[in-house]
Symmetry: C2
DNA sequence: GTCTATATCATGATAGAC
DNA sequence: GTCTATCATGATATAGAC
């Protein structure tokens, strides 16, 4: 009865810790969150967290990994599908952008997948100063970014690759910030945006898409140079 | 000789603390930086920091304030000048965007004004989870943002105000991230961008400008609605 | 797997001599 | 204004009973 069981106890504790950590890291940042706070919110003992994850750093990585895995696989899948539909012809930039950033925002609408909380955490994590986080994110994102970069190169043959990379970078920033800085929105606006629901895909997604694609397709700056030969 | 003196000693210590704090906060974040580290780097005693600033929070605020003051006053001045030149006619959006974001990036080129270090700190600060930082930033930015918002409303009479606010928000994000996430750029690019000098205004500024203006002037999304009456 | 209890250390802040 | 010394607190992590 002990070996054949589902070990539901373990899974519950582990996931409660992950959920609590996700929320606290989002709210207070990595350095601003203590293991005591996490386990307190999770309603489990402090020692349990270290038993399941080994360290605070490992806990943070697992918080990020479990959701990024889903998102990035979906991103790759959607791009594959779009390319299959196109049958060899280059994709429209807007399709690529939608696959990448649309996937991210649709996760926020999905409560079960962690929703808004993880999205805000991700937005903040991307500029987090902790070096182990940056290293981890770079590794976790490497494949997807490479894949999307290549798709954009094919999609925009007349734009220097260097410029595309920069603009991808700008798009990432606009999106991360739009998500992470919900509070800061009150900096810029006086009236209430519909129920304050920034992550309501119906609102944010089309607005963001228009902006991103407008930026991506903007006239090239004067200093734009060709990418290195080879 | 003691009263009539310049009190150069005090000013030196104070500024050395500020400079060290700026650098450490940029590198490790607010929560990741201890007063001991700051005073260590500054080469002053721990107690001196508390004597001059009273608390860690107050130190952080002063780090931000001393540079934001300069930047934001320059932003207001340039906008005033541009409007005076236009003589009543609405400004071109590109002029407004250049006044706001161009000023910021030109600071990075100016070593004396703190340069790149502060810029990166600012980029990260904008999404910092600490509530006292967000409150402080909101207050410090309120006037400038209100002023630029109004200028953009006049400049883009056919775009719903709500949409303009959102796009301003996106522009802030793209810029902050472009600055803060210099390291993350290697996520997206394989080859070396010219000497890695992201803050070389000659490179980043025109690229960023094209992107921002392209986004700002993009076709409106379908869901765009008019701002609330009155 | 889970808990109590604790080891060990770093933090922000201050008191008080100089 | 600057220093030494110290307080009180809270941090990560682990040992060991159950």
């Amino acid at each position: 009865m002990s070996k054949t069981n589902f070990d539901q106890t373990q899974k519950d504790t582990r996931e409660r810790i992950l959920d609590a950590a996700e929320q606290m890291f989002m709210q207070n940042g990595y350095d601003g969150t203590s293991m005591r706070l996490v386990t307190g919110v999770a309603g489990v003992n402090l020692a349990a967290a270290n038993y399941h994850f080994g360290s605070k750093e490992a806990l943070m990585q697992e918080v990020l990994r479990r959701r990024l895995e889903v998102i990035n696989q979906e991103r790759l899948r959607l791009l594959d599908e779009a390319e299959a539909r196109a049958g060899g012809k280059p994709l429209k930039p807007s399709v690529i952008v939608e696959c990448f950033f649309g996937t991210l925002l649709r996760v926020a609408a999905d409560q079960k997948a962690g929703g808004e909380t993880f999205l805000k955490l991700l937005g903040r994590t991307i500029t987090d100063p902790s070096s182990f986080i940056r290293t981890f994110m770079a590794a976790e994102y490497a494949d997807v970014l490479e894949r999307y970069k290549q798709a954009l190169f094919l999609s925009l043959p007349n734009v220097p690759k260097e410029e595309i990379v920069w603009r991808f970078h700008f798009m990432l920033g606009a999106t991360s910030y739009a998500i992470a800085g919900t509070d800061t929105l009150h900096l810029v606006t006086d009236w209430q945006v519909n129920e304050g629901a920034v992550s309501q895909s119906e609102n944010l997604l089309p607005r963001l898409m228009s902006f991103l694609i407008g930026g991506l397709r903007a006239p090239l700056p004067d200093t734009s140079v060709a990418p290195p030969a080879k």
